[in-house]
């Protein structure tokens, strides 16, 4: 069984929900990413999602855009990100790692080279924002050869028949984008999320994790009550960046982000049972 299915299976039997932090690899410094991943796991992350820096991150709001810019100033490439995962794996053989990014760096590396490099590094899943089902076929074939899950996105605008096609091809988990918009923006409507998740669940037994628009322990708890997992990105990166901008060290920035993740973890854990 893949690391992702083992992880979600375990979470399900324990009656928990997954907490998935997103950070941009190489932000605020290349050397800090791997230690930060371990600390996020220690603070309660079930899966770690690493953003691959890209010059034109079209689906990101200002907070994550700046994360990409800082990482690029540190010259972090897709090859470097895979290297980081490899180093992470030396001390953590169990926590699934998914990488999230844009098509062009993968195109440039070439699909077969990329897929085998992912497998060698210990990557478990891939989210490519600008490779919708219509375009991901050739890459997905390469990923399947090395048993890496391509994680499909479903959004509030995805029509019912499309949900059917997407879920039929999906593996690992489904990533539900909770708001129309870019990362970090918008107001999350839990009732609306719940309605959409029900529609997706009628088509698949895969776990559904929800991202975009989760800002704090309260919104994470609200979403965690209806989803199988929550993805938190902008809130963590904002917390870290603000600390650094106000004179803190990168380590202090990470301390703050890790505490936020811990509070989100307890918020999500506490919400279970209150609504079940």
């Amino acid at each position: 069984m893949s690391r992702l299915s083992t992880c979600f299976e375990k979470i399900r039997t324990e009656g928990r929900k997954a907490v998935i932090p997103y950070v941009v690899a190489g932000d605020p410094a290349a050397a800090i990413t791997v230690p930060m991943m371990h600390r996020l796991v220690a603070a309660g992350a079930d899966v770690v999602e690493l953003g691959v820096p890209f010059s034109d991150p079209m689906s990101e709001g200002p907070v994550i855009q700046r994360g990409h810019e800082r990482a690029l100033e540190n010259h972090v490439s897709l090859a470097n990100v895979l290297e980081m995962v490899k180093v992470f794996r030396e001390d953590d053989a169990d926590t699934p790692v998914i990488i999230m990014g844009y098509a062009n760096p993968v195109e440039r590396m070439g699909y077969p080279v990329f897929a085998s490099a992912c497998a060698e590094a210990g990557v478990d899943g891939l989210i490519t924002v600008d490779l919708p089902p219509e375009e991901v076929g050739p890459l997905n074939q390469e990923l399947k050869k090395v048993s890496i899950d391509n994680i499909f996105l479903i959004s509030p605008t995805t029509p019912a028949e499309r949900i059917t096609t997407i879920t039929a091809n999906a593996s690992g988990f489904i990533y539900y984008v909770a708001v129309k918009g870019v990362t970090g923006a918008g107001h999350l409507d839990t009732a609306d999320v719940e309605k959409h998740l029900a529609a997706i669940r009628s088509k698949t037994t895969l776990p559904i994790c929800v991202g975009f628009g989760i800002k704090d322990a309260a919104s994470a708890a609200a979403v965690g009550a209806v989803a199988d997992g929550v993805v938190v990105g902008s809130a963590l990166i904002d917390t870290m960046a603000q600390r650094i901008e106000s004179g803190g060290t990168p380590e202090q920035g990470i301390d703050d982000a890790v505490s936020l993740l811990a509070s989100i973890r307890s918020g999500v854990t506490a919400s279970i049972g209150t609504t079940a």
């Binding site: 890209f54 689906s59 897709l78 919708p132 959004s155 605008t157 129309k180 870019v182």
Partner: protein, 406 residues
């Protein structure tokens, strides 16, 4: 290639997936997929609807002022002593460039979809002005994204857009030029997708945009073909157009693609020289990749990061190019070349003084190559250059380069 050249062959692209050979496609976030599907469905219906075509043609005739003239540039042709050069006068369109052909068409689509809010990206500001113009005419709320650097160098157009009632949003991320404006427009669209129509300004972006912008701009080539036959009794020997995203070029080229005797040249921005790396010539010096919703030639580094471009002309300062051009390059139907900043500036002055036509700096790139080409040809031959826009918007840039304070 000979056996491939037929009207059917060129009409076969894009395929239903929006592909031009390996290029094109729909590389966007899931949230936009249904909006693109709706747009495509509507467009496929309207494209064959005589009522819609009449509405479009009528707007082009009475609002834009089409057909635009084909003008023989005799003094320049005589001075060169080679092929005769004819100019397709898109500068005489309402708002001063070819861009309005497309915004008229897309505004009609927005109207049919009942969208009250339109957004656009702009580089030189010509597409922004053309969008603000059609929005004013239809009473639509218009927001134009423009790189902060372009807001500076095209300040006249910024003010024009504001006078027309549009909101101009300066984009400060990345290189602060056209590509960043397009990123920001896509971010806006994904957020307000329910009530917003995105008027893309060139033959780039996700399918169906490269197809529909091409179709709207092809009026240029259809007219030029008729006018050439009427004025010279034959088809042109060569066509020349500048290529930013490639909309004025495809508009001129497309109706001639199956005419084997017609050579075609797309002129990219060579900036400080293609060999310096400081340019905006992805077809001349880039590699295929994925950006802004399509696969196409891009300026990128070895890690797949998009690199900064340079051109004196804001409208050509873009690291990508429409996917159909990538395909036309690969199959060898169109030749892509580059003209540098200083060559374009010299041509700007030369044509202004010799023909009394002040070209946009974008257009001046096409004129550079037309002059070189004409010199190698004979007076029995003729070239049509797409005079894509007028240069009034550029006079502050030209003055400052020439060290003149206004």
């Amino acid at each position: 290639m000979t056996d491939m050249i037929s009207p059917e062959f060129f009409a076969s692209v894009p395929d239903p997936q929006g592909r031009f050979g390996p290029y094109g496609g729909k590389f966007v976030a899931e949230t936009l997929m249904s909006a693109l599907a709706d747009l495509e469905a509507l467009y496929r219906e309207l494209a064959v609807d005589p009522g819609f075509q009449r509405e479009f043609d009528s707007d082009l005739a009475h609002y834009v002022g089409r057909p635009s003239p084909l003008y023989e540039a005799s003094r320049m042709s005589d001075a060169i002593g080679g092929a005769r050069i004819f100019l397709k006068r898109e500068d005489l369109n309402h708002t001063g460039a070819h861009k309005v052909n497309n915004t008229i068409g897309q505004a009609l689509l927005a109207k049919h979809m009942g969208k009250k809010r339109v957004i656009a990206e702009t580089g030189a500001g010509q597409h922004g002005v053309a969008s603000a113009t059609v929005a004013a005419r239809l009473g639509l709320d218009c927001h134009v994204f423009m790189g902060a650097e372009d807001v500076q160098r095209q300040s006249l157009n910024v003010y024009r857009m504001k006078l027309l009632g549009a909101e101009v949003i300066p984009v400060t991320s990345g290189s602060k030029t056209l590509k960043d404006a397009m990123n920001e427009a896509l971010r806006d669209w994904v957020t307000y997708v329910d009530n917003t129509f995105y008027i893309i300004g060139t033959v780039a972006g996700p399918h169906p945009y490269p197809m529909l912008v091409r179709d709207f701009q092809s009026v240029i080539g259809r007219e030029a073909r008729r006018q050439s036959l009427a004025m010279t009794g034959k088809l042109p020997d060569a066509l020349v157009a500048c290529v930013g995203g490639g909309s004025n070029a495809i508009g001129l080229f497309h109706p001639f693609l199956a005419d084997e005797s017609v050579a075609m040249f797309g002129v990219e921005a060579g900036g400080l020289g293609v060999e310096t790396g400081q340019h905006a010539a992805p077809l001349s010096a880039g590699q295929p990749g994925v950006l802004h919703g399509n696969r196409t030639y891009l300026m990128q580094d070895q890690n797949g990061q998009i690199i900064d471009t340079h051109s004196v002309s804001a409208g050509l300062d873009y690291p990508g190019v429409g996917p159909e051009h990538s395909w036309l390059k690969d199959i060898g139907r169109v030749n892509y070349v580059a003209a540098n900043d200083d060559e374009a500036l010299a041509a700007f002055h030369r044509w202004t003084r010799t023909e009394g036509i002040m070209p946009a700096l974008e257009t001046a790139h096409a004129l550079v190559h037309a002059e070189k080409l004409a010199a190698e040809m004979t007076p029995e031959q003729h070239i049509i250059v797409n005079l894509s826009g007028r240069g009034d918007k550029d006079i502050l840039t030209v003055a400052s380069i020439d060290g003149i304070e206004l």
